[in-house]
Symmetry: C2
Subunit: 221 residues, 2 copies
Amino acid sequence: MGFEDYFPVWDKLTPAQKNRLKGSAVKRTAKKGTVVHGGGRGCTGLLVVGHGQLRAYIISGEGREVTLYRLLDLDICVLSASCMMRSIQFEVTVEAEKDTSLWIIPAEAYREVMEESAEVANFTNELMAARFSEVMWLMEQVMWKSFDKRLAGFLLKESALEGGDALRITHEAIGNHLGNPREVVTRMLRYFQGEGMVKLRRGMIELTDKGKLQDICQGKQ
Amino acid sequence: MGFEDYFPVWDKLTPAQKNRLKGSAVKRTAKKGTVVHGGGRGCTGLLVVGHGQLRAYIISGEGREVTLYRLLDLDICVLSASCMMRSIQFEVTVEAEKDTSLWIIPAEAYREVMEESAEVANFTNELMAARFSEVMWLMEQVMWKSFDKRLAGFLLKESALEGGDALRITHEAIGNHLGNPREVVTRMLRYFQGEGMVKLRRGMIELTDKGKLQDICQGKQ
């Protein structure tokens, strides 16, 4: 499959616009753990995921992280091209969580097409609205949900994403997703273990009672 | 001044598009305290502020509020027309904080013009990006800033907005801006009073040492 199969409004573009995007798009692969955007590299461009998994997050002045959203197959990241828009005043970092193949469309080329084409501009609007919605969801969680609910929800989501009940993840990595120090994660996981909901092993967390985690997540316990 | 003076990309519209917007825009005034959008009223439309002050906020299941952003003269609220975009999955409420004159452009009319016009679509994109940036700023505050810093910052911002050091605001209203219970606000304000930074009176907070509040806000204390 080529780049055009991954870009939803491709059919609405003029031949010149198609050439502009196709001619500037760069295909690359990123090994698990690679930072694809951020860390002072300036404006990377639009990221179009072919196959794999990316994580977008922010970092505090003290180096604490919190995950904003994940990008899976066919997803498009617009915030890595934030220089296209004057009004975006924040920086996200994007890293590969699995080996990932992707296209990078340079911001300048994309912006040119977006300025000409109402379809591309409206499509970009929807992309941004989707990310905005994810961040609003996250903010509501942070504002109004206690940490046990957030952690239970995270474990269930990871299990769905990975398709299994044994998660290979460190307590520190969970802290980086949720924006909490490692010790806080460890303490709560030990409580979950005491209640029979998880079993902790080195570098691994096994979910042993997903129904109970679900109840916690929904505030039934 | 007419509606066209308040709408930045007016000159880029075709005569038909101008008629579409002008013909459907409704002028109204909202008394202080009126809810202009939200509370189950569906999709209000784009709000263009002529003169006054609006507050956009979200409400938790338990009725707690947190302020997302303010809209002042000439500002435009796009999230009150969120039904225009499929990908927006959250609800904001907008209320008048002062007596406010505004235009409401029905979402359907605006969406029609936005689908035709790359200029309007890109302008809308910038509007949304600006709100997105404010929410990201807020999330970073909530994630990483302690409550004393947030409260000091809020008092200074209110003082700048109102142009004076005596703020007529209740502790409950501050809690609704910051997403915290009233008691937490009262406790911290009493601490600030003990340190000589504010003087508390009935329904009023006087800022008596803005330099010290500034220091707290910037983490120098």
